[in-house]
């Protein structure tokens, strides 16, 4: 009979060449003569590039000057950031009247207030918050940005938006501190326990109604001067166009994708034709069609709002692209899911809304966000048809007499701006992916 004796062997730490920094460097950078050579060449290239950029953009740069001549006089080799700084208002807000800029800032602040709860983990009813952002915020933002006389419809929607913003904010504050929703919170204020859902809802609606009447009366006294769209511009205009394009692309894309997979021939043919038509022409052609050709078919003197034309064109174009992304997502869902949903008696919309879409959308997040980033970047094309979006403004700096010929600095600034925005979006998409991941990895 053999006995096996186990003996504990002392653990040995990994060899230094595997874990130390020097070991890593040796392994990855200097493992052979060729690699060593490549490393030195690469380091040299990076060093000279960075050094050049650094000395042009920072060390030799001129930050304060009256005009470009003065920049040249101070340091002819450096960047002339003074021109960009002088134009910052134009770059961000376009030709918007300078004394009215608070309206844009306030509008953007409200948008943040509206959307911050979406990021807070303890807040409930995120779907309603998201939906109201898409459907009600445009009225509040639109009134702040455009101003002027408001009709009865506008007054009602504006009031609804303000009520919604207030309720959202209160709801989120309560949510953060107590983890409850607003109706639950109202119920908990009274001493009775276990108030049924219906009563909760009635109290909540009563509260909404009172708030609505109060705000409606208050908003009648609001009066902001009308700012025509021709004065909109800069990053603000870019974000307005891209924002509306992004907000409408997903719903539009879902509808078109479902239409394309529909069993009803008219809907299917129409959706397919629409998608293929818009996908087979460049966006700049669509923009030119919308702004140049379209007015020709209208009666003389009938002048459409060019901004609205552009926004409609951007929305249609992006819906078509998004439709194909969504269709791709739908095709990842196995047939069994549809069949399973049918077996338990779900109809078409329930199958789509409760079973298929939630899974499909999750798969599509990287593509959807990629699409959104493309929308934002494509928006700069409107500068070609004469709107002063952020790129249009950046290019105008070099034509302004004091800054004649200044073209590299504005574009570098624009590149940094776009990188910041797009990088934030893509980081957020990674965050969403991680959060929504249910770890169904096979």
């Amino acid at each position: 009979m053999a006995t096996i004796k186990t003996m504990k062997k002392n653990a040995v730490t990994a060899p230094l060449s595997e874990i130390s920094v020097l070991g890593w460097i040796r392994k990855n950078l200097f493992s052979s003569v060729l690699n060593t050579l490549l490393t030195f060449v690469t380091v040299y290239i990076i060093y000279t590039t960075l050094k050049g950029v650094w000395s042009w953009g920072i060390v030799d740069a001129v930050w304060v000057a009256e005009n470009r001549r003065e920049c040249f006089a101070i340091n002819v080799d450096g960047a002339c950031w003074a021109g960009v700084i002088a134009w910052l208002d134009n770059i961000f807000y376009g030709r918007y009247p300078r004394e009215e800029l608070w309206r844009i800032n306030l509008g953007i602040f409200f948008l943040f207030m509206w959307m911050v709860p979406l990021w807070l983990p303890r807040v409930k009813a995120k779907i309603s918050i998201g939906m109201t952002t898409v459907f009600l915020y445009p009225f509040l933002g639109g009134y702040l940005f455009a101003g002027g006389e408001k009709g009865i419809f506008m007054q009602v929607m504006l009031t609804a938006a303000v009520v919604c913003l207030l309720v959202n904010t209160i709801h989120s504050i309560i949510g953060v501190f107590s983890g409850r929703s607003l109706p639950e919170f109202f119920a908990s204020l009274s001493n009775k326990k276990n108030i049924c859902e219906k009563t909760q809802r009635n109290i909540f609606f009563g509260f909404l109604a009172i708030l609505f009447v109060l705000i409606y009366v208050w908003q009648m006294s609001w009066n902001v001067e009308r700012v025509p769209w021709t004065k909109w511009g800069g990053l603000f205009l870019t974000l307005v166009i891209a924002g509306i394009g992004i907000a409408s692309a997903l719903p539009g894309g879902i509808v078109l994708a479902l239409g394309r997979r529909s069993r009803m021939p008219v809907i299917r043919v129409f959706s397919t034709a629409f998608i293929e038509l818009f996908r087979s022409v460049p966006i700049i052609t669509v923009l030119f069609m919308a702004t140049t050709m379209f007015p020709l078919f209208m009666p003389q003197g009938f002048v459409l709002n060019k901004l609205v034309q552009v926004i409609i064109a951007v929305c249609l174009f992006n819906a078509a692209y998004m439709a194909e992304t969504v269709r791709g997502g739908l095709q990842t869902i196995p047939q069994g899911q549809f069949e399973g949903a049918h077996t338990i008696g779900l109809g078409y919309w329930q199958t789509m809304g409760l079973v298929v879409m939630p899974q499909a959308l999750k798969h599509m997040i990287p593509n959807i966000v990629g699409n959104f980033i493309t929308v934002l970047k494509d928006t700069t094309l409107v500068s070609i048809i004469g709107l002063f979006d952020v790129l249009g403004m950046l290019r105008s700096i070099g034509k302004d007499l004091p800054w004649l010929g200044l073209h590299i600095e504005p574009l570098v600034f624009g590149a940094i701006l776009f990188f910041l925005i797009c990088f934030t979006m893509s980081k957020y998409s990674r965050h969403l992916e991680a959060k929504l991941s249910t770890n169904h990895h096979n």
């Binding site: 005009n67 470009r68 040249f72 002819v76 002088a86 134009w87 208002d89 134009n90 376009g94 030709r95 918007y96 300078r98 025509p228 021709t230 004065k231 511009g233 460049p282 700049i284 052609t285 030119f288 069609m289 702004t291 140049t292 050709m293 007015p295 020709l296 209208m298 003389q300 003197g301 009938f302 002048v303 500068s383 070609i384 048809i385 004469g386 002063f388 249009g392 403004m393 290019r395 105008s396 070099g398 034509k399 302004d400 007499l401 004091p402 004649l404 010929g405 200044l406 073209h407 590299i408």
Partner: protein, 344 residues
């Protein structure tokens, strides 16, 4: 390149279709009813139409827009400047989007007769020229034999350069660029011996170079570029208003009326021409359908032609610095082409 061809054909079709749409509407009535003038310019161009850091438009062409506005409303601010891409410029005028176009567009017979628009009268006489380095020793365009010349592609400048080279047997090789910034950078780095484009733009370029004194514009002018406002074809009264608003500015300079002395002139001048123009005597305003003080408003609020030239194009502070003396843009009394028919 394919895309731009497509766009050009789309726009060409649009423009051909346009005259059918344009009608003999009463532009003046429409403008008055609307309460403001819609004046079309292009994407900013040094000296002619620029945005400043506060988002306001200024420049020699913008001044024409302001003059027409002041003549109609007595307030030069009652206008909206529309910035339209060059592909869509004539369509936007033809379909009634703009009331008036003033954006360094060259007056040619094909444009005047085939695009459903009428050029009014030039407000600036430009022409294509060459910039060279002073140290190159070149003093005449005829010395550019075998030279490399930087030019923006797809422009008439490129065609004019080829014609010039052939006519004088110079064998110039054109280096073409899509973007004028890149063109200038190439020239500055020695990639070509000269740059060619309209002289006003050459002047603007030189001002933007690090050492303007090292460069010079050659004396030859190889093309005619009369730039001026244009209106929709078929509304003569409207064309008259725009034409005489510009003539009022030129006439005022000839008569020595400026924005500074116009009040004094209106009150005290004995000169019958001045009195007629400023509406003290006579009734020249009636035919235009404007108020008696239309020309006074132009000069008071916008200034005469010379004032505006100096402010934006000439030697004024921060202006482009193009010498007016000896050019076509001088008054006819000084040997130029700026000439207003009599206002009587």
């Amino acid at each position: 390149m394919k895309l731009s061809t497509l766009l050009t054909s789309v726009v060409a079709f649009a423009v051909m279709a346009a005259p059918a749409v344009a009608s003999t509407g009463d532009t003046l009535d429409i403008v008055k009813k609307r309460g403001h003038l819609r004046c079309q310019v292009g994407t900013p161009s040094g000296g002619f139409y620029n945005l400043d850091a506060d988002g306001n438009w200024y420049g020699l062409d913008v001044a024409v827009c302001q003059a027409v506005t002041a003549a109609i409303f007595g307030d030069k601010k009652k206008m909206e400047i529309q910035s339209v891409s060059s592909q869509a410029r004539f369509t936007a005028l033809a379909n009634g989007e703009s009331d008036l176009l003033c954006r360094t567009a060259t007056w040619t017979i094909s444009r005047d007769t085939q695009l459903g628009l009428d050029f009014v009268t030039p407000n600036f006489y430009d022409g294509q020229g060459f910039t060279v380095l002073k140290e190159s020793g070149i003093t005449s365009a005829l010395q550019l034999k075998g030279a490399k010349v930087c030019v923006t592609t797809g422009t008439t400048s490129e065609l004019n350069l080829a014609d010039f080279s052939r006519a004088h047997d110079l064998n110039i090789s054109a280096v073409t660029f899509e973007d004028w910034n890149v063109r200038d950078d190439t020239y500055l780095k020695g990639g070509c011996d000269a740059v060619t484009i309209d002289k006003s733009s050459l002047a603007a370029n030189i001002v933007s170079f690090p050492n303007p004194a090292d460069h010079m514009i050659l004396p030859e002018t190889i093309s005619k570029e009369p730039l001026g406002p244009a209106v929709r074809h078929g509304d003569s009264q409207w064309a008259d208003i725009v034409r005489w608003s510009l003539f009022a500015m030129i006439n005022a300079e000839e008569l020595g009326v400026t924005s500074a002395n116009v009040d004094d002139m209106r009150a005290n001048s004995k000169n019958i021409d001045v009195r007629r123009m400023l509406g003290v005597e006579g009734n020249i305003h009636e035919g235009l359908g404007l108020s008696k003080d239309w020309a006074y408003n132009i000069i008071k609020q916008v200034g005469n032609y010379g004032e505006n030239y100096e402010k934006y194009i000439g030697s004024g502070e921060g202006a482009l610095g193009i010498q007016r003396k000896g050019t076509l843009n001088e008054l006819w009394t000084n040997g130029g082409l700026m000439y207003s028919p009599p206002m009587r």
